[in-house]
Symmetry: D2
Subunit: 352 residues, 4 copies
């Protein structure tokens, strides 16, 4: 069994890593780390885990991790994660980083989106080149040989899965792409706040960070731009919905040619995902639904052309905590270990 | 007191008409009609109304309506409504029709979107010209003199409120407009079905009738096209969310000129709505939220330009049962009666 | 118009007071107070109120209140409220206090339930005798002449409305009463916390403060005991449900005699509430539902005897923020002013 | 691999059986049956299952089942199930029946609770004695040797797990037990109806079948009575909550002696469940929460004495579709096969 540590075990992605790894046939959780929860048992922090794992959370210390684990998942806030990853990498561990710190290939872009007054630049720019972008459907090869994998953001996962086959096949214009994404509240993390207080988030829907403000924009543009072979800008609008899990992403683009029809779009989707274990191209006439992927590492996608306006519409549904975070991180680890990519991840969705 | 009948009292828009009219200072409900619920008291059909109104629902009969009321609200399914409206109009009643039957100004368009094998054409094309499109913010004048007002659909209300000021001001291109709208489940009516069964609709989000299939597309195009002075096509994607009330509409368009900035968009919004009693242009940096208009006839709108992509984004929030249906219908009646448009409609939103 | 101030305007009961008072024909809101929100406009704190009220929240100062208002609603945390009420009372204002501070008639009981290390005793025991317990259905007479009304807790309102007619009629034993109450999350207030974070409170149900720990127990026992003419103890179990508003209270008791049947229980309910404007005894066979009182000052109640076990079951449904808080406070004010008790409170429930 | 058929595959318990059995190391699903869905693929009926199982649903025919499977799960409506079970038993299959048909040991009791005008008596009374009541925590021995196991109802599972250790230990009086249970909407099945329509079931709570009307009462009384050694009657009140999954059961009883304290109650719970793989006695001061067992076969239980009233309170939380139905059915099958009872059932809860 591979010894794995989870750094940042007290958040939702930490709990989801634990849930999934407990069912993994080749991985054993050997240590848990978190700052404020250090000293507590995991069952105190997450009562649902108490029957399965009795382990005390420790304060993060890279030497302690190195003494106890061969690989680590980092689920810390950005900035913090960059340093933790560097310390672990230095000690020879393979790391899957669920933060944003190693997702952007350009240090300048990182500084633009994540730089703060206190820390304007990436703390470890020398490692950016070492990290693979952990979307297996696009970067399987580089993940296999990576020592650091930067697990993609939840919104970028949904947007890139919906759009990348169409960009690659040259079926849509890379100008004017709109990504309208709807997320459950776990996407905002476990720290309480007014916007995520039940009475404020319930029975209502709202957009947020509208107009080019959400940091995930950079990832979407980076990945689609790399496929297109040119820089591109997307209009990305995230929404907060009264549900806990799930992202539905609805993307709009102009077809690159008049003769692009739904059949061509579906062919591109099927070409891209026909052999993918976790991505399902919906049968024609059926549409993705986040309720049907809840709790699983699966994605549903579809694409079609609007019969009247001619616009191309691509839709995807994922569970933001699984395919959008912890499940995808394990998928990456499987690749980094040279294992079957699906190990521990074939559990079905929980519906309803 | 004006005597008002409600035809189609057993659905959600019927109940909402009753709730609002019971607080109206100049209207008295004198009769209720419904097909299957005929013979029941309204309190049996809607227990929340029992303390306020004890009235038996009757089977619809236009002579009975004419004997008991001066005006009627029709909240019947389309097709049925067209005939009921005609029968009431013939008997001299003013009618506010909440169905789709008199919303489209072209009989051909009606046939295209609403025609069925059994009834391919509009049953009363001669009355289409008599009906005003009941969006007061656009058609106040014609509603004032109308005998029939066709109350707009819920989605069109949200989309037209968001986009019409920008179209009128010539700030956006009328080509390539995308309308991504998110609705609560009451939009699907009161008849149970699998998609609206609690466990299927809860904790998940999905688009439906994607690709130019939803009938409300026709209304949106008609109204925006009339303002633009040219035919236009929109890409309209409705979504079903795990909440009961509310529509959030996010519309995307290309600016008509490079120099269109957020200030210009906000000026157009303020010019259009500065004196409107029910439409609030959000302060800069604040965004519409359906939770903040729930139960009220108010709309929240905003517009801005994406700082990176340059795309124009217009957003609106309404309660689909009030501003999107019954409240707006009463607003129209107030106008038809020559009254202050806000009578009975100034109640605040219920939050949370 | 009576000038009214709201002290503690930034919480949910504050917002609900504003919503209701804006529709009150004889009351005008003249000042709003809150600690942390001082300096903000009410529309910034509660966007849903922005179109109806543009008023700046001030820091509480009793002289300022006295200069601006004739009556005050206090919706502060307990302890703080006791002092604010005393200061306002001293300045000659009538006060309706929504905190727990003047609900318990015994200073000893207050000390037992609300005393803290820092403040072990009631800060103004001399005023306890001045305060009426503001449940109009029980204390209409004393409220009418009170200068201070202590508005009941949300759970006690639901429990006392369900049980008091049966205790008064001597139909149930006062030993062994069980009160199992289910509340929406607004009952926990507006301050975010882990238990009320959307993903933690959603899609699940749990009891809390089980076993005689919840402070509202004291109120329930005080009021039922006063009717019974003897001290009594109830087993009170509150629950947190995944909804924002509403309390459903299910109370269980042994019949006092074998021949107590559902008819006798219903008669007691009808005798108690037949003339009450806000309490509806459900028709036989129909059961209370919080969805049917949402947003209104109404309560639904019923009582029946279990056909097999012989146990008496009494059930009530209220909106915790209206009949359980702000609506009931206004009902009390109406009485204190000698007005029709229903002024401003006859608005219907919002369903769905 | 053991060949298993699912009869009644189109309901929620059918889907949950499939989800769980797909992860079972010793069972293979070889056939699916349903009436209305016959001819459809399972992926059409339950899109979340499409990626894992492509199998066509067939019309039920006992010979077809016998030709294709060694064991069968029956998840049909009561009455129908009795006959299907009999036909399969006759053909030599082991059957786990998720309907109510073989739960009651007395044909008279069955007739009383389930008899209809059309079918007043149990159709196969001769088989009642063959069936084990499938609650492993109580009936492990008889399940192991049974050919038919009647899987318990969801409410009885929650009530019996909470109360049986206290009854067995003689700590509570068997007179006057109250069971107040709160269920998610999946408990009502997959057929849409008005009470389970999203807008009616959402944002509200209500009791139903109050007063000794719910059929599950019989099971609770049978099982607790058998332990007590005397007939007993419980007051059982079910509630419908705005969530999809989960039952929280709060049971109240008088202690049998004055000296019964929380420690004694906890000891009885620990004695009963200390070695149980699926039942967790909560640490003192922690309470069960349905959100923490969602999707898993686990139960959380606790018991304590109210510090003021002296009443005993026992609480349990389960997922109604897993421990309350399909998971428990598989647990029974594991026993019937002589396997480790936990096979395929150790998956963790999905939270949030």
């Amino acid at each position: 069994m591979l010894k794995a540590a989870i750094v940042g075990a007290s958040g939702y992605t930490g709990a989801e890593l634990i849930r999934l790894l407990l069912a993994h046939p080749k991985v054993e959780i050997t240590a848990l780390y978190a700052r404020r929860a250090a000293g507590s048992s995991i069952g105190e922090v997450f009562p649902q885990l108490a029957p399965q794992l009795s382990m005390t959370i420790e304060a993060f210390d890279p030497d302690h991790v190195a003494a106890n684990a061969e690989v680590a998942f980092c689920a810390l806030p950005h900035g913090q994660s960059a340093r933790a990853v560097a310390a672990l990498y230095e000690r020879g561990l393979k790391v899957v980083d669920l933060s944003a710190d190693y997702r952007l290939r350009s240090a300048a872009s990182y500084a633009e989106w994540y730089g703060s007054e206190k820390e304007p630049e990436h703390p470890h720019p020398e490692l950016i080149g070492e990290a693979a972008y952990g979307l297996p459907e696009l970067h399987r090869g580089s993940i296999r040989v990576a020592k650091i994998t930067a697990s993609p953001g939840c919104y970028p996962t949904s947007a890139i899965l919906a759009l990348s086959p169409l960009v690659r096949a040259g079926l849509i214009s890379t100008e004017g792409i709109v990504v309208d994404a709807k997320s459950g509240v776990t996407g905002a993390g476990r720290s309480p706040g007014q916007a995520t207080h039940f009475p404020e988030a319930g029975e209502g829907v709202r957009a947020y960070k509208v107009g080019g403000l959400h940091r995930h924009t950079a990832e979407i543009e980076q990945e689609l731009g790399a496929i297109a072979g040119n820089e591109l800008k997307v209009t990305f609008t995230p929404h907060l919905l009264p549900m806990s899990r799930g992202i539905l992403c609805c993307a709009y683009a102009r077809p690159s040619r008049d003769d692009v029809d739904t059949a061509a779009l579906r062919k591109a989707m099927n070409d891209a995902y026909g052999d993918e274990p976790f991505v399902r191209v919906m049968p024609e006439g059926k549409l993705p639904d986040t309720a049907h992927v809840r709790g699983s590492n699966r994605a549903q996608v579809t694409a079609l052309r609007d019969r009247r306006s001619g616009q191309v519409i691509a839709i995807s549904a994922i569970d933001n905590l699984v395919k959008g975070a912890s499940g995808q991180a394990i998928q990456a680890l499987n690749l980094m270990q040279g294992w079957d990519e699906t190990l521990g991840l074939m559990g079905g969705a929980i519906f309803p």
